[in-house]
Symmetry: D2
Subunit: 431 residues, 4 copies
């Protein structure tokens, strides 16, 4: 059982209740710990700047913080339920190492702004990773689109064969969606990139904290000025961060749906590498696209994490302990998002298309729209062209798929995928 900083000696502790209140908090804090240490170092520098700490004192504290980070990363220091939470662990360590001096690190701050700043730094980092992962995905899709631009593929609406399309146009769609997702990750990162450190328990302190310095030190683009707002943004920024992940995973879900269908015996458009499939415990004949299904089924975790946060936030201003429960959904959602986006490009890159099956799936009637448009371009009112074509379906049998692809010249369509434009946008989002 951890020792509690705020503990009053005369109050008996109920183990069951303490366990319920602690929840998984200290274990979850492992994911925040390095960020908490970084922010603690910035706080020490800020205290030095306003002469609460001497340069020598600050130096010792910074040294001990660095040591702790090294030990944590190497595994020599374990964050576990010896401590109430990660914040307490830092303070304990500093006191153990530096005695009286260690006790001074908490001057001018509260666990409230500590957890805010650590969470903010984690979220920022994950959004930076997301931006990169989205760009990597998009880049790969552009390559694949270029290579597959001439492979015909049925274009579906309502899951019904509609018009001739191409594998390249399908890949280019994925590329553009992940360019947008990268932009969203970047915008969201910028939106949350505000420094809450120095707001203490939500009302600031009677010390002239050097918040400009900590803002710079931690790479924030602005100060989150108001201490009450800093508290009130708990959950708010997390929701928006997860929303950026949700957008990416939603596109993964749609992609996985496509592959799930394309890899059925009935469609048979795509072959998955064996390492992406598993067998059955009862059916010797099966190879199942498990990875694809798990990627499809990854979205609900993030969607639900957002709801969990939204539902928690029906509260008045200021800190409430309910907000501790923002951690599990946030960390769970981020981890799911990161894992999916880490694996997804591997799937995108390894799909093999069955060109023969794709070609077999092109039917004459899928040229009907092209034909109607030709008649319309030649002056027949479109509605009349439409009705005309409905009566001349058999005549479409002579058309080749490639003919349709070549004629589809509207910007973005098969004959004009505008991949260079997509590449240009992609590069603008690359730092």
């Amino acid at each position: 059982m951890a020792d509690f900083l705020w503990k009053k000696t005369d109050v008996p502790v109920d183990e069951k209740i303490m366990a319920f209140m602690a929840g998984q908090d200290v274990v979850l804090d492992r994911q925040l710990f390095v960020y908490d240490l970084q922010a603690s170092a910035a706080h020490v520098k800020g205290l030095e700047s306003i002469e609460i700490l001497s340069p020598e004192e600050a130096g010792k504290l910074l040294g001990a913080l660095t040591d702790l980070e090294d030990k944590f990363i190497s595994g020599a220091f374990t964050l576990d339920d010896r401590f109430e939470d990660g914040h307490s662990a830092i303070e304990s360590y500093l006191i153990e190492q530096l005695g009286e001096l260690g006790k001074r690190v908490h001057t001018g701050r509260s666990r409230n702004d500590q957890v805010l700043v650590a969470t903010r730094l984690l979220l920022r980092h994950r959004l930076e990773e997301l931006q990169e992962q989205c760009l990597a995905t998009a880049r790969l899709c552009i390559e694949r689109a270029r290579a597959t631009a001439n492979i015909p593929m049925p274009g579906y609406t309502h899951l019904q064969r509609a018009v001739v399309s191409s594998v390249g146009m399908w890949f280019a769609a994925v590329a553009e969606s992940f360019i947008d997702n990268a932009q969203l990750a970047r915008d969201t990162r910028n939106w949350i990139n505000a420094n809450p450190l120095g707001t203490a328990a939500g009302f600031g302190v009677n010390l002239p904290l050097d918040r400009e310095l900590t803002t710079r030190e931690l790479g924030f683009s602005r100060m989150q000025v108001n201490p009450i707002y800093a508290q009130n943004s708990r959950g708010k920024f997390e929701i928006q961060g997860l929303s950026a992940f949700a957008q990416a995973l939603q596109d993964v879900r749609r992609f996985a749906w496509d592959i799930s269908l394309f890899s059925t015996s009935e469609f048979n458009f795509v072959k998955l590498p064996d390492r992406f499939t598993t067998g059955s415990s009862i059916m010797p004949n099966k190879r199942n696209p498990d990875l694809v299904e798990l990627l499809r089924g990854a979205y609900p975790c993030v969607e639900a994490a957002i709801i969990e946060l939204q539902s928690l936030l029906s509260l008045s201003s200021g800190y409430h302990r309910d907000l501790q429960n923002t951690k599990p959904p946030l960390l769970r959602g981020l981890e799911q998002g990161r894992a999916v986006m880490d694996i997804f490009p591997d799937l995108v890159g390894s799909l093999e298309f069955n060109e023969q099956a794709l070609e077999n799936a092109i039917e004459p009637a899928m040229h009907a729209t092209d034909r109607a448009m030709e008649l319309a371009a030649a002056g027949l009112p479109f509605r009349d062209a439409y009705r005309t074509v409905m009566n001349e379906m058999p005549e479409l049998a002579g058309r080749e798929a490639s003919q349709s692809l070549d004629a589809r010249v509207s910007p973005g369509a098969c004959a004009n995928l505008m991949l260079d434009e997509l590449s240009r946008r992609l590069e603008q989002l690359q730092d």
Copy 2:
């Protein structure tokens, strides 16, 4: 890395992908393991009944299953990532202990019906616990209502003081809500109490499995007849089970809101025991009602778990690997629900009411409705009585709170709480 039952030797395994696909599955299976063992025993008896296994063979298998359960419970057997999942662990253990015979346990079943039946048994058990927890809460509230029936308390609408109410009526409200919650837990338990064992991978098998026997053995009230439906009910039954928990936790949330307000300095109606509060790391003066806030903030976990399941289930018939992702939200939601309901009665039982503060909060205007009703009962049209009272507010100052409580005779109200009726309903739900 686990060995996979379905593995084909010529397929290379990608560690990263395997790790992603495994997720936390085997660790989560610890919560299902004893149920999987129970169902495995029932399956063995079923195979014996149709003479796939001899009595002697069945006896050996049952003995080994019991041993494994003992070892698991004592900690001598650890379910970890040496195994793909709990199901594989059971089979491995039986083979290790019994050689060829161990291999025969999987005859006529699939991991698909194994996980269904184990999950079903867990869910049934949790709902039985929930029913008991709700009844315990309700019983305690009836006792407290009886003891506090004469303590006046403002009745609020819109958080504005409205009429005179009593602590007893407030406790009786909680009692009745948890009687309903107990009934819902019972009904839901009955609804899901159908046996999926013997449906294999969703299509049955070419063996005359004795499903009547396994249904009886496992205490199910009916067979889940159709194998495809058994698969399709994955998630469906879990959602309804979690909905029963959500109803209980929703009432906990409302109760916690009341206490959160009542324990402010401004209301000051309730004192919490010290063991339910914590201090602040920065503010020496604080005692905070953390437990109450964590109980209030417990609901979103279950709400979100339901959404996560609902969102996963947009699928066609039959098993899809997406469904593996039903486990984490289910287990998370059930654990949160159980923990909350385990602690909640302790809070209910230990609240101390500040009678003086409650009395001070009763204002003369809170008798206005009583007065209007008196005029109406005497024959004045209610709308006229209403307007009359608006002009005679000062005259209400002479009324006592107790006078209002005593006069509130409509069934269920302060003078007629009908606690015996509530007790009667409660006892009907007690097995």
Copy 3:
């Protein structure tokens, strides 16, 4: 602009704010109006029973309430924004018709218990309809299962062809799911069937209201005893009612997914009647399964309605105006549920299966599980049988689909659909 019962003459009214506060309330009340009238009649009888109203007075009020119901149903009375809400409209009408007497109807009640009881009656009615709709669906599916029991169909797991299955087994799965849904509708109906009338604004009144009488009059199976609980159950019962609809619509969604896939050119298992399809505004060749897609896309409306209610209910005890916002999601969700379940049997009944395409889709490897099970039944350990079959796939080519169907004798499977058992359960749920 409506006239407000509670209006104080000296308070200026801000039209924009009044409009915002009113929302769509009075229009939504049209769906509750007949129930409000029924409950008003019961309230009048209750007042007569305790001699607040004479038999003659009660008779006049009951007559006027019946007149109003007739006028409303015939369209001679329109509930619109001349009134603040439906409750006010009733009182206005009674005053208009009966003068002073009309003013007396509100004696001993509040709009709070009025809306509770009207909503409860509506919800009860919708759940009764749902039960019937589910039973009708199940009955139809049993018929179709009986007729199609011998038509082979691939059984899919992971959307991959797994084993031989039958159209009959697929229909029987739908039947069983809707039997369960009917039971849930019934249980939920019983759970919510408690009378809140007579709880006034949440604290009862100082009149000995005859709540037993109104409980009987309105067909409730029990009194909702506690007035505070009556208020606190606002939203709570609605959520559970919508959950019953959600379960049904979830099964509709899965069915629609199946049909959406089965009606692709690639699967080609099912033909939809033309009246269930539409064309495209641009593609002359298209016939799209729009109805199927709209049935699939109906679930989110109900799912979201539940979340909207859950999110609203983070409140302390007693009435809050936030609760007015429970109406739109409730009514929207119920309407969606009713409309879907009204149309769904028509789809179920009209599907035509393409037996040739189904047969073509049966591959030899789909007999592998049968073969492994045969070897296992003959004494080969299942794991060895499994590995043996993996090496003898070619030999499965000689098997017929019907052979597999006939051999699948485990209870519930193709050769033993247990349709009589399903019928028996169904009839038990039929009142």
Copy 4:
């Protein structure tokens, strides 16, 4: 019953099914109609640019479109169920007015890109309004913060009195949150500001559509290049637009929670103008803060609208009719968001603070943190200072609230609200 463009004469129409499929579509299209007309005009100019239409033809079509817009706005043209949807209504009108020429407007487009572009324009417009509404709110809050900077107010954590705060700091928190919300509205608007017109049914057309021209004409900042992606972004962009509204409404919810508490008799910090309150139908003494509660209860509508969209989007690529169901939640969420943000500043501006009650609520113990910080600044380790202060609580009685406010100099805190910095940021977001 509308006439359908795609109708084949030999297919019987089932009225009930048609009604189900149509839903409220045409009525909802009223909100999209002017945007559809604008986009139609841009499409006509694009067709002129590629010489599908002559300048004269284009001129006639543009004239008719303008006429229709005028008639629609004036009420001379009603969009109702004479039409299948808004798109069909436009085409019908043009044909009615211009004969053959009218039929040509649909050349090169589909209802799929029509609805996409109209929805996009609506969403963009709403986000622009949201940005302005957030800025107006923030500006007002800065003003109020400036005027109330010296009014002490308890600062709460866990709803317990913690430290001395000020009304000004509280208003400044709201200001900063709405500056962030304005930025999010702007970023989201920019993110979705991409032109889908010219993507037809999701595969482009065999015409060299001038998409650069329509992009410019409609004020989009970029082309949404890929036609498949244009379809796949249906719902995706709507979710992100609603997320921006959700963030604003979440802050409204928290504000409303504060006011709901502050306006209780117990807190008594705030007086609401009478026009924001209502009375009760049964309790003559009540004035209720209904508007505040309805603002608090507005968030769930938007939250649920997002879930409804997220849940709908579990689909493969390309258009599916399920997507029609994205309209109701989108339009409902946007309308709720707009209405709330339209009224909210009125509430912010009209709150009157009860300075005496605020001052009475400041207790000596609320100076404890200040005192601990003073000791820490003087060199005592913070943890020792903290424990020291716990033993000298009585000595804090002599402190004034103003003393605490004046000393709270950390950036953003009471003595240094940095309102000029907030104003500077606000102005940067003002176009």
